[in-house]
């Protein structure tokens, strides 16, 4: 079974995000970029499936700027077999919307015929949490979102989903779209020899036009602002003082 894993290049999760003063977005100049952490978990899961003999080939896809090649090389160094970059934007500030991404991925799925698509549940930049569900809709496939456990058994997959009150198990028909949550696995680090080897792995370059997909945004961004700040309060010296403040000053207990 072939497994497709979409990966996104995002601002590194350790970087403190700064909103640009003119309200046009966040500052991405000279900022460390990395693979979206949820996508790393998806890549790791695909590699584990290959190690178990369930997956035969892992294809990673990224949609965005040409620099996303680095993200794809990271996935190849972890253990993916080949990569596809769909260059859909020239400016690093341009975020391709989940609907357009899902349409491009649907076109890739039609060409590649994977039995499983493993996505991260959300990208930590736009926090949309939508691409996997949208891809599943466009393909008319089943969807298994926010999963922390995956078992593939013939033409079905049984997954554990992280839901609001606890966990939910569902069984979905294959082929399926899975979106992964944080606790599914811990992604491996790529070793130096594997990083070197990844440079020789195939990476195909495409454009949205190759797939006949229009990536024009449906949401016009009017402005991007800093959230209302919170001012630091006071330090209290003891538990008794804390209780007194909460009772008399804040009136919350």
């Amino acid at each position: 079974m072939k497994v497709l894993v979409p990966v996104k290049r995002v601002i590194d999760y350790n970087v403190k995000v700064r909103v640009k003063a003119d309200g046009t977005g966040v500052d991405l100049a000279n900022v460390k970029m990395s693979m979206n952490p949820f996508d790393e978990i998806a890549v790791e899961e695909a590699i584990r499936l290959k190690e178990k003999g369930v997956a035969t080939e892992i294809v990673v896809v990224s949609i965005g700027v040409k620099q996303a090649q680095e993200t794809l090389r990271t996935a190849l160094a972890m253990g993916a077999d080949r990569a596809i970059l769909i260059e859909a934007a020239a400016d690093v500030q341009t975020d391709i919307e989940p609907l357009a991404v899902a349409k491009l991925l649907a076109a890739v799925v039609k060409e590649e015929n994977p039995g499983l698509v493993l996505c991260g549940k959300q990208a930590i930049d736009n926090d949309m949490n939508a691409t996997g569900q949208m891809l599943s809709a466009l393909l008319g496939w089943s969807q298994a979102t926010f999963i922390s456990d995956l078992k593939i058994d013939g033409d079905k997959a049984v997954v554990t989903r992280e839901v609001d009150g606890g966990l939910q198990s569902i069984s979905v028909k294959m082929p399926t779209i899975v979106t992964v949550d944080l606790r599914l696995n811990e992604p491996r680090y790529a070793s130096l020899p594997n990083i070197m080897k990844a440079k020789a792995k195939p990476l195909a370059l495409k454009t949205p036009a190759d797939f006949g997909v229009d990536v024009t945004p449906r949401l016009a961004v009017m402005k991007t602002t800093e959230p209302a700040g919170r001012k630091a309060g006071v330090k209290v010296g003891s538990v008794d003082e804390l209780i007194a403040k909460l009772k008399d000053e804040a009136g919350v207990i």
Binding site: V26, A137, Q143, A144, Q168, S169, K173, V239
Partner: protein, 308 residues
């Protein structure tokens, strides 16, 4: 045009708080119809009809909707979509699963985690874990959105809308429910609780998390946890507060042994009053806390429990 509000129903019970807060967010946009789906949802439908601002409740009494399965639920909503300018739901695991699927089937974008409705086309939503707020104008004919309930007050009771039974859509038959493993607890639900007590990595172990629970029970509070505490196995994931967990805005949030990583702050910084108990004077949580107590949690928390 009217608004279709997708209700969360758990085991036949309406998630009234989530629905009532979403209702507040959208009621200025037009008549609001609430969709209650699932066999045994009669009481939930009747409850939804009492919310002030609901003009009609649609009730799809069919077994295929009982466990919030994405494919049949999305098919049902898409079949109803023609009459609506907006299709919305609370930002719960249920709606985050279903509504992006609905949006793609309608060939429109989804607006996730809306925190403010500016007008019928324009919405605010957080990006980068709440470190920036984006104002976006939708160019789509139908707006599909999830609403961050922590940003809105719950609508009151006093309505008396009609409940109309509707037919089920055909089930695509792509998935089957197996089981729910939902912890039952007498504590208030995390996203609607008035007080939340959360523990972080500083708590140190699963057994010591009992300290956090004891304090929560003393205050009649819900229990939360930072992602670090969840990742370390101290607390279950459905207690997680933050960018990748739940977003809460209680009257009082008590952060115990939580350093205050960006991703945690994203889930609680809109709380009315924040208390931080931390032995590290440099912990970032202290920069957002109204009251900071620099102390060892293992002495301060038992003292608090005793004094309250």
């Amino acid at each position: 045009m009217a608004v279709l509000l997708i209700a969360d129903v758990n085991e036949g019970h309406l998630a009234t708080d989530a629905v009532a807060k979403t209702l507040t967010a959208v009621k200025a946009l037009g008549d609001v119809h609430v969709l209650v789906a699932g066999t045994g949802g009669d009481a939930a439908a009747a409850e939804a009809a009492t919310l002030a601002g609901v003009s009609k409740v649609l009730f799809a009494d069919d077994h295929s909707y009982c466990h919030g399965m994405a494919e049949p639920t999305a098919a049902l909503i898409v079949g109803l979509a023609g009459g609506y300018s907006h299709i919305v739901g609370a930002s719960t695991a249920f709606n985050k699963n279903v509504l992006p699927r609905v949006a793609a089937l309608l060939d429109v974008m989804v607006l996730s985690d809306v925190t403010a409705v500016v007008d019928a086309d324009t919405f605010e939503r957080p990006i980068y874990a709440g470190n920036a707020i984006q104002t976006v104008k939708s160019l789509d004919k139908v707006k599909v959105a999830t609403v961050r309930t922590a940003s809105f007050e719950a609508a009151g009771k006093g309505g008396s809308a009609a409940v109309e039974k509707i037919a089920a859509a055909s089930n695509p038959g792509l998935s089957d429910w197996v089981e729910d493993r939902v912890a039952t607890s007498d504590r208030p639900e995390l996203t609607s609780a008035g007080i939340v007590v959360s523990g972080g990595r500083g708590v140190g172990s699963q057994s010591d998390f009992a300290l956090i629970e004891k304090l929560a029970d003393k205050l009649g509070a819900a229990v939360g946890a930072s992602r670090a505490a969840v990742d370390s196995g101290y607390a279950p994931n459905d207690w997680q507060v933050g960018q990748t967990g739940k977003v809460v805005a209680p009257q009082l949030y008590v952060a115990v042994g939580i350093s205050g990583a960006i991703q945690h702050l994203a889930g609680m910084k809109d709380s009315k009053v924040i208390v931080a108990i931390n032995k590290d004077p440099e912990a970032p949580i202290l920069s957002v806390a109204d009251y900071g107590l620099e102390a060892d949690l293992f002495t301060a928390v038992p003292e608090l429990v005793k004094a309250l």
